[in-house]
């Protein structure tokens, strides 16, 4: 049912042109009989992208996004797997909810949905959720996060880090000291002072990262940091890695590209948690992604309906969409600047996130025997982001009107195209 494909003239990881063959959901060495042919001259093949951080909003906020719309947006953005964050309503803190989300993903069929389980019941930070039950469920949860909220209690965090070792899980920490960020609206710095918006200091993120690195080292667990946004966070992760601790980190496309001066418009499309930071932070994040200190790009795709964004700044919801622009933003921030080549993009957007999320069938080499999860990218086309044209149910992209490089032409999920000619297949 997945069909047979011949992808001609494609450049795997941006290398020399060749032909890839797909049959039975895998990459194969020879042209399968009856293969449909795709002229991929000039296109680059990457392993299907893996997002460690996606808000699909279902169940609970289907007005913002559903599993079906969110995963279609993901496929159009070149993703073959997304990790659906737990802050739904009801919260994904029991096996029933994660299985429901996983099943909705299977039914939609646009990409693999790996639910993230909540660390604590109701994201309340008081009591561990049934992490083992979620790990053992059909959804096979391996990443646990209270994203949106920080697991602030150090003892609870220690227990979570320890407990998930039993099933090779990882806690993905949303590093934000709650007291230092009460009512915080934007990065604390020159702009917050000028704009009269309550500041969100870098130290609120860095203090938690430092603490959790030490905790993870102490109990011999791995820990993952969601959306690191400051130069100081980068330094801490670099320090922890230099100690040989099992620490990983992700950065969002928007933190690689946008800065806090955009808030001067008071347009809440730029309101996000963690907040947009300074030029110096952007530079540090790019360098860290290039040298591998930051392991992965994760979108933190956070769709919101119009009425939650067309407001005064303080009343608006935090978050930006990102699935359909992620690869292009990374191309602009990292490839066009010479910081990463396409092999590097594949590593940071597919190979390493698949390892962190324990997804064996993703992020594989583009060679016979691998599962045919792959994406074809036109690196030379430039396009202008139009928020009205989106598969996501929401339009809150901060890149509206910007011209970006590179476009996803086709996405294959287990040998079956989910996107062809840049459109849903």
């Amino acid at each position: 049912m997945s069909g047979a494909w011949e992808i001609k003239g494609v450049r795997p990881l941006g290398g020399d042109p060749t032909t890839l063959y797909v049959e039975g959901g895998e990459l194969v060495g020879e042209r399968p009989a009856g293969a449909q042919s795709i002229d991929a001259d000039g296109l680059i093949a990457l392993p299907g992208l893996v997002d460690l951080h996606t808000h699909l909003r279902e169940p609970g906020r289907e007005d913002a996004e559903t599993v079906a719309t969110g995963t279609l947006a993901a496929a159009l953005g070149g993703f073959t797997a997304v990790h659906a964050m737990a802050n739904t309503d009801p919260v994904a803190d029991v096996a029933g909810v994660v299985e429901q989300v996983w099943r909705l993903g299977e039914e939609a069929g646009h990409c693999e949905v790996r639910p993230v389980g909540a660390v604590t019941v109701g994201l309340a930070g008081k009591q561990l959720a049934e992490l083992g039950a979620m790990a053992d469920s059909a959804a096979r949860v391996r990443v646990f996060s209270d994203d949106g909220k920080c697991v602030h209690d150090p003892l609870l965090m220690r227990r979570a880090l320890e407990y998930v070792k039993a099933f090779d899980g990882v806690v993905a920490q949303h590093a934000q000291d709650p007291r230092l960020t009460e009512n915080a609206q934007m990065n604390e710095g020159e702009w917050s002072g000028v704009l009269g918006l309550a500041g969100w200091p870098a130290v609120a993120e860095e203090a938690i990262i430092a603490r959790d690195c030490l905790l993870a080292a102490h109990v011999g667990s791995r820990v993952h940091f969601c959306h690191v946004s400051t130069a100081g966070s980068v330094e801490l992760v670099r320090w922890a890695k230099s100690k040989g601790w099992d620490v990983t980190a992700e950065v969002t496309p928007h933190h690689l590209f946008l800065t806090d001066d955009l808030v001067a418009s008071y347009d809440p499309v730029f309101k996000v948690n963690p907040p947009l930071r300074t030029e110096a932070d952007v530079t540090a994040l790019r360098e860290a992604l290039a040298d591998g200190t930051i392991d992965a790009v994760a979108t933190d795709h956070a769709p919101h309906p119009l009425e939650d964004k067309e407001t005064e700044w303080a009343a608006a919801a935090f978050g930006m969409t990102g699935l359909e622009t992620a690869l292009s933003v990374v191309a602009a921030a990292m490839v066009d600047t010479g910081l990463l080549d396409w092999a590097g993009v594949a590593d940071r957007m597919s190979v390493r996130p698949a390892q962190i999320g324990r997804l064996p069938r993703h992020g594989q080499p583009l060679e016979p025997g691998s599962t045919a999860n792959l994406v074809l990218v036109d690196p030379d086309v430039r396009w202008t982001v139009d928020p009205r044209i989106t598969a996501s149910r929401s339009r809150n992209t901060p890149f509206a009107g910007r011209e970006l490089p590179a476009r996803v032409i086709a996405t294959f999920l287990r040998g079956r195209p989910t996107v062809l000619d840049g459109k849903p297949a």
């Binding site: 710095g189 917050s192 002072g193 918006l197 500041g199 008071y266 347009d267 407001t311 005064e312 303080a314």
Partner: protein, 310 residues
């Protein structure tokens, strides 16, 4: 000048001087007249859109608009607890449909006037937004300083108190520096924003060191919620270190003036005998507010509304 007055930063030096000069002409035009009314804005509609209670500012704008013969609608959108900003947009669209030419907005959220300006065609005047700005207050303060001392340029002006949360301080630092004054903000370090050193002003933690060279001292109100917010140990300690009492006032140069945007906490940031002294401009500030707001309304609404400004 821009179509809107959202921030004191919108005003160039020439713009600011034009507002002050126009306010002076407004004063002269109405001085000693029995009919305190000009026909200038006849047929224009000005909406006072106040999401926060502020009788003093709303009344000042209302009197200003009425003296220029504008129709005034007071839209008391009370509810700083409006959690969904949707209502701000809906309100904006309602005002638009009613044909308002100008909207004077007071809102608890910084930047709310900027959003409003995005949604409506008429002019928007920021009458105080959250902890951001209050540009007409700065204009009336500059006007008051100029009337008392004859100039703003070259004066040393101290702004004392909760700079972190003060829209009055932000607008005054911008405007007074644009007009050539040397501004110093004075506050405990907890009440200064991170990044204040990039502002066009000097920064001091020591009121006693600043007063002897200050031509004007602007005392900021200490909001009640700050008194318990851990920004300083006790109100008494704040008052002792940053309050202006008669003894401190005596260290001011002879012709210095003492200002306060009101409403005052007598005995906290300003002692009663200071507030009532001859140096105090507090009552004049209120009167000057009307003239300055007339000037702003005239300059924003008095000409063609299609942006065909010269």
């Amino acid at each position: 000048m821009n179509r809107h007055l959202l921030s004191a930063a919108d005003l160039s030096r020439d713009d600011a001087l034009l507002v002050l000069d126009t306010a002076a002409e407004m004063d002269v035009a109405l001085a000693g007249r029995s009919i305190k009314k000009l026909p200038t804005l006849r047929g224009r509609t000005v909406v006072n859109l106040f999401f926060e209670d502020s009788t003093r500012t709303r009344t000042s704008f209302e009197v200003a608009a009425k003296r220029l013969s504008a129709d005034v609608i007071n839209f008391a959108a009370k509810g700083s607890s409006v959690s969904k900003g949707e209502s701000l947009k809906d309100t904006a669209l309602t005002l638009e449909a009613m044909g308002s030419d100008g909207v004077v907005i007071r809102h608890s959220a910084s930047g709310a006037p900027h959003r409003l300006a995005h949604w409506i065609r008429g002019s928007v005047v920021n009458a105080g937004d959250g902890t951001h700005e209050h540009p007409t207050q700065a204009l009336l303060d500059a006007y008051t300083i100029r009337r008392r001392t004859g100039r703003v340029e070259g004066l040393n002006i101290a702004i004392v108190g909760d700079v972190l949360h003060s829209r009055v301080a932000r607008s005054n630092v911008l405007l007074l520096s644009t007009l050539g004054a040397e501004v110093t903000v004075v506050a405990p370090p907890t009440l200064l924003p991170v990044g204040v050193h990039s502002w066009p002003c000097a920064v001091s933690y020591d009121l006693d060191a600043v007063l002897p060279k200050s031509d004007a001292v602007m005392m900021l109100r200490v909001q009640h919620e700050r008194m318990t917010g851990g920004f300083f140990p006790t109100v008494r300690e704040y008052s002792r270190r940053y309050g202006l009492d008669a003894i401190r006032m005596a260290s001011l140069p002879e012709d210095s003036i003492v200002m306060h945007p009101g409403p005052m906490n007598r005995g906290v940031e300003i002692a009663a005998e200071v507030a009532d002294s001859v140096r105090s401009t507090i009552v004049e500030q209120v009167a000057n507010g009307v003239s300055v707001r007339m000037a702003v309304l005239y300059l924003l609404l008095g000409g063609a509304m299609d942006g065909a400004a010269e």
